[in-house]
Chain length 597, copies 2
């Protein structure tokens, strides 16, 4: 079985060194926030992940979910108990408002809990964490009665929630959807249609499941402007007020997938199922965008979690597995061979994994803080600026982290040699599971279009240039604080690349959207590299200060600086390749006729 040690200490380092709490005391809920409480929460979350969820991960992969002839779905052994531990421990509403049973824990810190959970069991994690996201939609758009009836139950995890978006013929292009909603005299709607890829559309973890469904009201226009959002409980209230009346929503089948076998991916049939409108008719996508953005940041978090789990196990295996000898002479002459970790290519791989994980984790915390500013800043201008920043980096966090997270899982698997290809070792499951992250919640190619056309398209890319300037300032700061670190020069080059790429794409996107999008994926990766480099600049300052203050007995701060160096010298130079591609002629992508493919 895979082992896992949740990186609580590393998160605490980030909270203390990266977040600068005292600068954020003005945010709602930050005034009297006690960092020791945060540590206690993380420690408990880590324990739950390691002791309860992790042991179910491989079991769930083997067992999968079972759909019975009556349409009910059984989740893998242990998921029921784990879910109870999750809900009863108050984890479902960790970041949700206290008013509805949540704990109002800022996203800055809740990110850590999310990472631990997804690292320990990505399948299980697919059933959780919807409560607070969906709660936001309901709070913003629902009626007082809807909030009263559903919010507490969703936020406490008493009931499950699921999103009905994709249909067989439409995924990305949600405007094509065919699910119909027919108004009823009592103000409710009857919904008819079929949804696919409905994660947790049916399961046995909760007594009720609330489906949030996109559908088109009879007579409304085709396309995305005719889409409304509905709330459709699996079990409806009967006259006695109990939710004991089965709605006409049923699971037709569950998908057999590459991975995430423990997560029931359902085909859901609605046969005149009863539902209520959420918010205004034909404005169904408004709440959905905010939800999707939260889910996209969460996807990046999941990728870092899986990358961390894969890395920890690759490190353990390469320290333990004796095979071959060090190229500079035997390191364990008494043993039959040296451990794999003495090999340069193994070390190069592990350094890549670790320098990514650490920088990406900082990025998650930083973006969590930005999300908190959006939600919690008393000053509207501050919140609005944060919202613009968040909109800019969300597609990068989703796509860059999921691409790299998958690549890291593959690299970690490679460290196991043939044993990594065998199911028993457990590492191949991570590759299969996390492959989903680049695909779901808006495929990564779509994230590129979002970034290059929608985000750079606003105010001539001002949000990106603001970010570039901020990072430029950071580079200047580091020139003073860490002058000898190669990261400073590497970041100076990388930020030049980003500025040039941004200028190019803003200009090109204004006159030829197709041409700009031939470089979209490269721009996502360029920006991702720069953001992680930015985080490393700040971490390097903190590490240097601790060393200067004589606080590095363990050598961990010196090791951080070495990982910063690795990232600078072997990862960051990729920005130049990305820029070259971004500036390449679009003809080599767009010119060939379709029949030439």
């Amino acid at each position: 079985m895979l082992s896992y040690e949740p990186p609580v200490d590393e998160y605490m380092f980030l909270f203390k060194e990266l977040v600068d709490l005292d600068k954020h005391r003005h945010l709602r809920g930050f005034a009297d926030l006690d960092i020791d409480v945060v540590e206690a929460v993380l420690t408990e979350a880590g324990k739950l992940a390691r002791e309860v969820m992790l042991p179910l991960n491989a079991v769930a992969d083997r067992e999968g979910c079972t759909r019975h002839p009556d349409g009910s779905v059984t989740t893998p052994t242990g998921f029921g108990d784990a879910y109870r531990a999750y809900a009863e421990g108050g984890w479902a509403g960790l970041a949700a408002p206290e008013q509805y049973g949540g704990q109002d824990f800022p996203k800055t810190f809740a990110t850590a809990v999310m990472e631990f959970r997804s690292a320990s069991n990505q399948s299980f994690d697919m059933y959780t964490g919807w409560g607070d996201s969906i709660a936001e939609i309901l709070m913003a758009h629902g009626t007082p009665e809807q909030c009263e009836t559903y919010l507490t139950r969703l936020i406490t995890g008493e009931w499950g929630a699921t999103m009905g978006l994709t249909e067989p013929h439409c995924g990305t292009d949600v405007g094509l959807l065919r699910t119909r909603a027919t108004p009823q005299p009592d103000g409710s709607y009857k919904i008819t249609g079929t949804k696919i890829f409905n994660s947790g559309g049916e399961h046995d973890l909760t007594d009720n499941i609330i489906h949030f469904v996109l559908a088109r009201i009879d007579g409304d226009a085709p396309g995305s402007k005719g889409i409304s959002l509905f709330l459709m409980p699996k079990n409806l209230p009967s006259e006695n007020g109990e939710f004991d009346q089965r709605n006409a929503v049923s699971c037709g089948s569950i998908e057999h997938k590459m991975g995430l076998n423990g997560s029931a991916t359902c085909v859901m049939n609605y046969d005149e199922a009863k539902a209520w409108l959420v918010g205004e008719p034909r404005h169904g996508l408004m709440g959905m965008f905010k939800l999707m953005n939260a889910i996209r940041r969460r996807t990046g978090t999941m990728a870092v979690g899986v990358s961390e789990l894969a890395t920890q196990n690759a490190v353990a295996y390469t320290k333990e597995r004796l095979q071959g000898r060090s190229l500079s002479g035997p390191k364990q002459p008494e043993a039959m061979a040296d451990p794999l970790i003495v090999q340069p290519d193994v070390r190069r791989t592990l350094m890549k994994l670790k320098s990514f994980n650490e920088g990406a984790r900082a990025l998650l915390v930083w973006s969590g803080l930005i999300a908190d500013v959006v939600d919690r800043a008393p000053d509207k201008a501050e919140a609005a600026a944060a919202e613009e920043r968040l909109a800019l980096i969300t597609p990068v966090i989703k796509a860059y982290l999921s691409d790299e997270g998958f690549d890291n899982a593959v690299s970690a698997q490679q460290m196991f040699g043939g044993h990594g290809y065998v199911a028993e070792t457990g590492i191949e499951q991570l590759v299969r599971d996390c492959r989903m992250l680049a695909i779901a919640e808006g495929a990564n190619g779509v994230q590129g279009v979002d970034l290059v056309l929608r985000k750079l398209g606003q105010n001539k890319g001002q949000a990106a240039f603001d970010l570039i300037d901020e990072i430029g300032t950071q580079i200047q700061t580091n020139r003073k604080l860490t002058p000898s670190l190669s990261l400073v020069d590497a970041m100076a080059r990388a930020i030049d690349d980003m500025r040039e790429a941004t200028t190019h794409l803003v200009e090109l996107g204004g006159r030829d959207r197709e041409a700009a999008c031939t470089g979209a994926t490269d721009y996502i990766h360029l920006t991702g590299l720069v953001l992680i480099g930015y985080m490393w600049l700040r971490l390097a300052n903190a590490a240097t200060r601790q060393i200067d203050e004589g606080k590095d007995e363990s050598g961990e701060m010196a090791a951080k600086l070495m990982r910063a160096r690795f990232f600078a010298e072997r990862m960051l130079p990729e920005t130049s390749l990305r820029l070259t591609r971004i500036k390449a002629s679009a003809d080599n992508v767009m010119a060939l006729e379709e029949q030439c493919f």
Copy 2:
């Protein structure tokens, strides 16, 4: 089900334009070689792949292999019939000597057959194609009696062959093996030990399976110098000459793997199994290296095959799936949406896949020709030079093509969106299946060490510099023939990168082997890019000539030039990133203490 059209025409183009048969008429078997016969063979091979093997691919993935309590193993439905079609069609001995029932088909052309087979069904392919490789060992090292008894049966595919190398505690470091061989008075040996990852160690496709086993004769030295090679039939000859007596070799279990479910990966137990020495004692690895090199080229071929299959299906899906609109205005205004292929990021992906497949395929043919020169040149100096070249490029073909082939399968899967994650579509299986190629037959990290230390370590890297010079000459030729093609300048930069990297690594490897190996994987990729660029230079010349001669009615030659341009402008610039990494300080990889990982 996935569809597949074997690229017969493309291979014929390569045979006519790249190989220059008239320059190779002096090679044994090439004198009266008829290109129409080659085309007929490829057409038949393609038919077998598409009609017989492809339909079994998904079935095999679902069914897997079954080991029964008596140790026998059942292969998936249809594999028995397919194997008979394969053996009876004469495919098993296609490239083997006529003397033993083979057809002596040059490797230049046999490569195509190998690609078709592995593309159509990688699991099935794992049972085949050993005959000719192992035949080479037996012909080189076996006794006349061994050749007489086994060769024809192996080469015709009447019997299967399998290699027993890996043990639970040793894979790469084969010198650690513990399997023992005890001499018997009759000249045979009794072999005791356990082998793992034994592909086709047991199955129901043939009446007998000949195990080629590495073991240590009692009293021989530890390490690789004490290893001998043995021939161990599953069924031994009894006194009547029939092979009807069961040997003490048995399958203990079969692995549950990430993919390749149709291929029985066996744990094999030898309990004083009877076997005979092949070649000299303690020289077991001599024949094995040649075999491994053939298998490594084959691994690269399999990677191209899977990449081709994945590409064809991604192309078909993106032409068919209607979703969203073109960024330059509707392309199919009458339909509800445009096909995915109008999207820039989709096209960028498809161009990457196609420009790789085509260049890599040329590389396979070119390397097949080099292998033929080794085997068939009457002039020993010519053969020796080819052998040196082959030794240099083999690790690149194995590692670069398998890394990129996997990456391409993942990219192709991405084109299917959520449907690519579902087993039903079939594309996710390719990702799981081909993941093995970077791991098996010498993990790719080991290929890097082989290239940088062993291959560059000989004659101060002369073989690499010879190749660089040859490519430099080609660039000069192209400056005249295709002066306007961006590939020419791109290759001029790339070959400078390769020269600089080679000079650096030869020098560094001479004084610090560990430091040199921190750049080994990057050097593999740099060389792979340059080799494919080299092939594109030559293909571009052929395409240009055909266009100039008015022979491009279909536009296929113009499309080739566009793919060459894509490779030049978006893929080749990666050599510069690789060079930067190769020249980076080794400290950022080697300096951290083990406990910091």
